[in-house]
């Protein structure tokens, strides 16, 4: 693959917070990031709890979270050193568009593999809204940068602005009488939930004479769900977008015969709190890769109709394919939260099938040589 990149970042925007001013990095438009300045990176509408348009003039901001090394070094009570990437206020129709005003903030939050985790956020007396997503920042070759999809190496395919309709919640809000900015501390590290198993791959074989294997290489990125709560009580967390996390070590799973296998590895999840005048918020999100290998089994194979014959003695390895999203691929039992997970395999993960007899291999979304999504070795 031409350029391998991956990384993690997130952004939390606390409009008008006590600390946001300190977090703002001066906008720079130097020669290496000129192509980032002014790019619209997220847009949408701000909606009230009744799903109707929120008022105009409410601030919405985009922040970049630091990489996992920075997050892991935080002690309980310490503030996450996020960086403001851009900010705006809603229009009369409650829409917003955030352009990159601080390329430096964005670039300084990118990991060595190129991924940055972002959070668009609005905190005011009108309510709290948030959404996490990630992007890959790739050198464009002319001294500038291209914003790509984080879950795959798009090789300079610019991705359009993330569309996010933020729904403001006033649950546990003390007042909602005005649109004035709320005052918040910013995200504070509270505690670690420890490592949690996450599905990062799956293969299926339903016939003897075929073996299957999976390797999760160092540097492979996975997209992991983020949970958010206004009470921090078990069962109160809901999905709030995703972050991307890269593995730092490789895991090679046992080669198996007939079975329907989920491959799992562990990511560390942690709890962060944003203390605001109106009400606090808590997030559960990944702050690093732990490693480990575990297989789980299911009795239900996918429907895979796109098949090719494989002769005895042949081997097929798929080193890149768009994978499925496992809706409940990861869970944090202590807070009763199940989150989505997604591994879009790049050259950092691979599926291997070896055929000792004449059999077939089938894809769920396309032929194995194309974009099969899931692969099934069968009679």
């Amino acid at each position: 693959m031409f350029l391998r990149r991956a990384a993690l970042v997130t952004a939390v925007s606390l409009a008008g917070s006590l600390f946001s001013a300190a977090a703002v990095t001066a906008t720079t438009t130097g020669p290496r990031n000129h192509s980032l300045a002014g790019q619209v990176i997220v847009q949408g509408r701000l909606l009230g709890g009744d799903r109707k348009a929120a008022a105009s003039g409410i601030r919405v901001s985009l922040y970049a979270w630091p990489n996992s090394q920075v997050l892991k070094a935080l002690r309980p009570g310490e503030q996450v050193p996020w960086k403001l990437v851009g900010s705006t206020v809603t229009t009369a129709s409650s829409s917003y568009r955030i352009s990159i005003t601080s390329p430096t903030a964005l670039l300084s939050s990118v990991t060595k593999s190129g991924v940055v985790n972002l959070q668009v956020i609005s905190t005011s007396n009108a309510g709290f809204g948030s959404f996490n997503f990630s992007r890959r920042i790739a050198p464009s070759g002319d001294g500038g940068f291209v914003v790509e999809n984080a879950s795959s190496d798009n090789d300079y395919h610019v991705i359009s602005a993330q569309a996010v309709n933020l729904r403001l919640s006033t649950s546990h809000w003390k007042a909602n009488a005005s649109n004035a900015p709320d005052h918040c501390t910013g995200w504070l590290y509270r505690t670690s939930y420890g490592p949690e198993w996450d599905i990062v791959g799956q293969t299926y074989v339903n016939y003897s004479g075929i073996t299957q294997g999976f390797t999760y290489h160092a540097g492979q990125s996975s997209t992991l769900g983020v949970g958010i709560s206004s009470t921090n009580k078990s069962g109160s967390f809901t999905g709030d977008g995703t972050t991307s996390e890269s593995s730092s070590t490789a895991e090679t799973y046992p080669t198996r015969g007939p079975a329907y296998v989920y491959y799992q590895t562990e990511f560390v999840y942690a709890n962060y709190e944003d203390e605001c005048t109106q009400g606090n918020q808590w997030e559960a999100r990944s702050d690093g890769y732990a490693g480990g290998a575990q297989s789980a089994f299911t009795s239900k194979p996918p429907v895979a109709n796109y098949c090719v014959n494989q002769e005895a003695g042949s081997t097929f390895t798929k080193s890149t394919t768009t994978a499925v999203t496992w809706t409940n691929g990861l869970s944090i039992p202590v807070i009763g939260l199940s989150l989505s997970s997604h591994t879009g395999y790049d050259s950092g993960a691979s599926l291997t099938f070896h055929f000792t007899g004449n059999h077939r291999m089938c894809g769920t979304g396309g032929y194995p040589g194309g974009t099969p999504y899931q692969l099934d070795g069968r009679e």
Partner: protein
């Protein structure tokens, strides 16, 4: 590295590269982007045996037919292309890979319309119908104990435009024994 990307890099470096202007863009045409990367290894059972490679599905995503101009192996090493054919597929199964060429009747899955095959060069591929593909089938022969190629080059035309698709599955053919996949 793809041709177009290399040309971009050469241009950015101020290098004038012959062929960049005339080479068709890689993996941007109606036959798609060549799929997502993988690796295929197949055995043949003697140094004189050939291989049937029917792993590649082609579908035309445009609204008008395209014509295949030429099929070639990309960066072959001790692997020779003996022939290339387009085989209609009426179901979901491709021919797949078999030691020996041509495939025997027992090796033809239901829906592989082998009798209706045509040489790939000059073959017309009609616009997509739902779930409709054709199978690109190659006859390959290793010229040593191991033959390899980085993929299959499909040069084709449509609407007066030249295209180039490179399949993303690398090929390896071994004489087994002594070699194994």
């Amino acid at each position: 590295m793809g041709v177009s990307r290399w040309c971009i890099a050469a241009t950015l470096a101020g290098v004038v590269s012959a062929g960049c202007d005339s080479a068709p863009a890689l993996n941007t045409g109606p036959l798609g982007n060549g799929g997502q990367p993988g690796a295929l290894c197949n055995p043949v059972h003697s140094s004189t045996q050939s291989l049937t490679n029917g792993f590649t599905a082609l579908s035309n995503g445009s609204k008008s037919p395209v014509v295949i101009d030429r099929i070639a192996l990309d960066d072959p090493h001790q692997l020779r292309l003996l022939g290339a054919y387009i085989v209609p597929i009426s179901g979901h199964n491709l021919l797949g890979d078999w030691a020996g060429f041509p495939p025997t009747a027992n090796e033809l899955s239901v829906g592989v319309e082998w009798a209706q095959r045509v040489p790939a060069a000059g073959a017309h591929i009609a616009p997509d119908r739902p779930n409709q593909v054709v199978n690109l089938v190659l006859a390959l022969k290793p010229e040593g104990l191991v033959g390899t190629a980085k993929g299959i080059d499909v040069y084709y035309s449509g609407g007066g435009i030249k295209y180039h698709m490179l399949s993303s599955t690398t090929l390896r053919v071994v004489v087994s024994p002594p070699k194994h996949c």
